[in-house]
Symmetry: C2
Subunit: 203 residues, 2 copies
Amino acid sequence: MKLFDGGRAPNPRRVRVFLAEKGIEVPLVPVDMGALEHKGETVSSRNPLRRLPVLELDDGTILTESVAICRYFEELHPEPALFGKGALGKALVEMWQRRMELNLMLPVAFAFRHIHPAMKEWEVPQIPEWGEANKPKAIGFLRLLDRELAGRPFVAGDAYSIADITGMIAVDFMKPARIQVPPECTNVLRWHGEVSSRPSAAA
Amino acid sequence: MKLFDGGRAPNPRRVRVFLAEKGIEVPLVPVDMGALEHKGETVSSRNPLRRLPVLELDDGTILTESVAICRYFEELHPEPALFGKGALGKALVEMWQRRMELNLMLPVAFAFRHIHPAMKEWEVPQIPEWGEANKPKAIGFLRLLDRELAGRPFVAGDAYSIADITGMIAVDFMKPARIQVPPECTNVLRWHGEVSSRPSAAA
């Protein structure tokens, strides 16, 4: 088994943090996304969408999509449960994982890719108006999240989950996207500080 | 238990088709999205994101996000398995479900919401250039999907899954978004015809 890894990019990091929380070690094959190596043969022969990370099993089976790779490891190593426990627990983690992804990670990614000068060759056409339109979406969702986090330690409840991983990395991604957490969102800032201080955050 | 339903919109339909495949009946509460009723108190008090569908359990617990609602029912009624079986089977369904969503459903939705005149008040600001930029993304993914479907009956393998539901509804959504399946994508057309002829498709 080997994991084709993309370094600092948000999605590869999601899987590395997940594996660190599980205590699972998988051999990494570094791919230099800055040098556009993910557009080359090594990745595109394994993932026609030419995105990272890519997990290759020993029999050659390919798994892509960060959350699908994480789910594979969750099924093989159920503890600690990062996708929730029980029907309702699993559904609530899925709900929050998707909310973090669709309402925070995605708007932040659009703001970064459609505004940042370094993304001009990655995102064609780059549409700054669309990037700007996403900044208030991200901020609006953070205000909603702040109200939720007033009543519980983690995004999906009392236990750390994949929704916290997606959320932490989305907030970190706000820096290059030049969006700030509103200072009055004290619960978001408290939560982000806590999840960022876990050893897994350095993965 | 009751399901606040949004009629013809793609996400409410995803859950109805899923329930029909499972043979589960849940009392529906119709919400008229055409009259913007999902922006009103009934929905916003249950889902601050003001989106449908919303599942309310008998104890008042709220579940939102179509895929999270589907997963809740999958856990309670595992057969027929629509999220895959076994670690690898579940991961492959998740991979394809996400590919269909991020590379087809989402671009089609952006094309619809940013170009269609009826969406002017829904999507503010409406950015036609962004809508147009998404059409080739959807078409490009359909060509990839066509090559995949040359070798198997369903999106994620030999069994019908939630990835087929998302895919079927994304293709149907192409009509109001004014995008056509390229006629040379004969495998996509064959697959879409087959999944559309299942009784669940009428849900």
